[in-house]
Symmetry: C2
Amino acid sequence: MEELNITPRTLMGPGPSDVSFRVLKALSTPLIGHLDPQFLKIMDHTQKMLRALFQTENKMTLAISGTGTSGMEACFVNLLEKGDKILIGVNGVFGSRMVEISERCEAEIYTVTSDWGKIIPVDEFINKIRELKPKVAALVHAETSTGVLQPLEEIGKVCQEMGTLLLIDCVTSLGGCPVKIDEWGVDAAYSGTQKCLSCPPGLSPVTFSDRAMEVIRNRTTKVQSWYLDLTMLDKYWGSERVYHHTAPISMNYALYEALRIIFEEGLEKRFARHKRNHELLVKGLQELGFRLSSQEGHRLPMLNAVIVPDGIDEAHLRKSLLTEYNLEIGAGLGPLKGKILRIGLMGESCTPNHVELILAALRNLI
Amino acid sequence: MEELNITPRTLMGPGPSDVSFRVLKALSTPLIGHLDPQFLKIMDHTQKMLRALFQTENKMTLAISGTGTSGMEACFVNLLEKGDKILIGVNGVFGSRMVEISERCEAEIYTVTSDWGKIIPVDEFINKIRELKPKVAALVHAETSTGVLQPLEEIGKVCQEMGTLLLIDCVTSLGGCPVKIDEWGVDAAYSGTQKCLSCPPGLSPVTFSDRAMEVIRNRTTKVQSWYLDLTMLDKYWGSERVYHHTAPISMNYALYEALRIIFEEGLEKRFARHKRNHELLVKGLQELGFRLSSQEGHRLPMLNAVIVPDGIDEAHLRKSLLTEYNLEIGAGLGPLKGKILRIGLMGESCTPNHVELILAALRNLI
C-alpha cells in the first residue's frame, strides 16, 4: 500500500481546525501504559485544565475516549432512564441528534423547535420547563450546523429552581467563547477536541455537576452503555484508578498540549481573538456581497454560516477552494444543504491570515 | 502547566505495546477533514488492509472510533435486541465483560464457564449451542487476562449449521497469530490497535459477515447506541459517505501506517516471529524457575501469564521493573490479582532484544 502522503490543507470548515505543530509533536511522543504513574499525572493535570476551561469546580470533569458524539451519548445515557422526561431545543442537526439519542434511551421527549438559523426562544423554553418539570432540559449552546449561539443564563436559573438538570452541547463553543458551567447552572456538558481546542478529533471533554452525579449514582437501572458508564469512568479517572478501558494515550498527550497552549494565551484573550477575527471576516464577506444566514445578535464567532448568493454553485465553489487553494470550508447540512456555506474560525484557524486567505480566494472565485 | 516530558518505557505489558517511529511520525501528519477526498482514500485503503488482516471478504470491515471496548460494545449492541438468547464463554475478564454488556442489552444470557487460565471446553460449548439454539455465541479468542488461546474452528462449523452468529474478541490475537474470520465461520469480531498492531490505543477494528449485517438491518428495534449504530457507520464508511461523526483523523493515519508495516513483514512471518520469541521467553523463564499459569497447548504467544513464585512480592517486582528498567509488564486481574504476572510480546515489543531485557531484569531482581 502506498505511503501516507497528505497534501496539507488550511482547515476553515466546521472542524477539524488547524492543529499547532506543538500538538502534532505531542502526538508523536512515545507511548506509555494507561496505568503508568506518568500517565495518571497527565490525566490529573488534564482534568485541572479542563475544569478551568469549562469554568467549573466539578470533580467529574474528564475526556471521554471517543469523538464529540460519544461525549454526547455519554451525557444522555447516563442522565436518562426509560420513561424519564426530557425537554430538547431543536434548531439544527445537533438538537435533532439529541432527540435521536434520547429516543434510544426510551425517554419521554418534548421539544421546543425553532427555524434553523434562529435561537430557541428563551421564554418559550422556560415556560415549557415550568409546565413539564422535566428531569433534563437539553440545548445546543453553539449549533455548528447553523452558526447560532444560544443564550443559557436565564434558562439555567429556572432549571436550578425547578430541579431540572440542564445539559448543553458546547462542542463548538468551548475554548472560543465563554462557557460558564457553574455560573450558568449547567449540570452536564460535552465538547469535542477538534474545534476551538485545535486538537485532533478523538476525545470528548465532559463535565458533570455533583447534582448530576448524584442522579446518576441513584439510578434504578444500569447505564445502557458499559463503555460510557460514568460510575465506572469515575473509578478510573478518580483516585481509585481501576482499569476500565485502555485510554487513548497519544490523544491524551495531544489534548494536554492543546490545553497548555490555551492557558498560555488565556481564555479572555482567546475569546477576544475569536470575536475580532469573526468581525473582520463578516466585514470582508459583506464587502464581497455575502450575507450571514444566522440570527443577528446570536452569531457564533467561530462558525460563520453564509448564504450562498444566487447564481453560485456552492459545491463547485467548495471544490475550487479545496483544489486550487487547499482550503476546506463546510457545506450546509439538512435543510440548509446547498443554501449555506460554513466558514470556521476555530482555535489555530482563527487568525487574520486565515481571514485574508478565504476572502482573497472567494474574491477570485466568485 | 509543565511541559509534556515523558520518560520512555519499554512496553511488555498487556498493551499498549511499543509503537514504531514510523507510526509516531504518521500521527504527527497535519490534519485534514473527515470528508476530504484524501481521507476517504485512507479509509478505503485501511478497510482493504483490515480485511486482509482479518482474513475476510466482509464488506463491513472498519475501525470504530473508540478503544477496543467500544468495538466490543458495538458488536453486542448491534447484534442483540432485548430478549435475544446469547451463549457466552467465560474464563477471564473479557468473557465477564461480555456478560456485563449483554445484560445492558437485556439479552437472555447463558454461559459456559471455565477456570481462569483454561480454555472453554469445545464440546461443552457446542452441546450448549445445539441445546439452546442461541442467536449469538460469543467467545474470547485471546483472553488477555489469562494468556489463553481459545480454539474456534469446530465451534464455527456448528454455529454455521445452527444459524447462530459467532462473535469473537480478538483484541489481543489479531496481527500476532492467525485470525481466520471467513475460514472459521466467524460472523462478528472486534479488536484493538494497541496490541499486536503496535498502533496507539484509540481505534477498534471490527468486521461483520453479510449474515450478521442482514440480522442487524432486520432489527425490529433501533440499536441502543447512536454512536455505534452500524447501519449509520455503514453509510459513512460505505460509498454514500454520509457524515455521522468526525473520525479521529490522526489515529486513522497511525492505523494506516501500522497496517502497512504489518503487510511489509507479511502475516505468516509475523505470526512465526511471535511464536519464536514466545518460545525463547518461555525457555528463559523456565531457566529462572518461573512457570506459566495458562493451559499447556493453548497458550497465547503474545501474552504470557506467569505464576508469581512463592516469596516474591509481585507488586514490588513490577515497580522495580518500571523504576529501575523503565520496563512495563502487567499485573494479574480479578481472581489472578497478585498471583500472576503478564508479560506481553506484541508487535514491535516482540523481539529477541525484548526477551533478553526482561529475562536479564528478572534475573537481577529476583
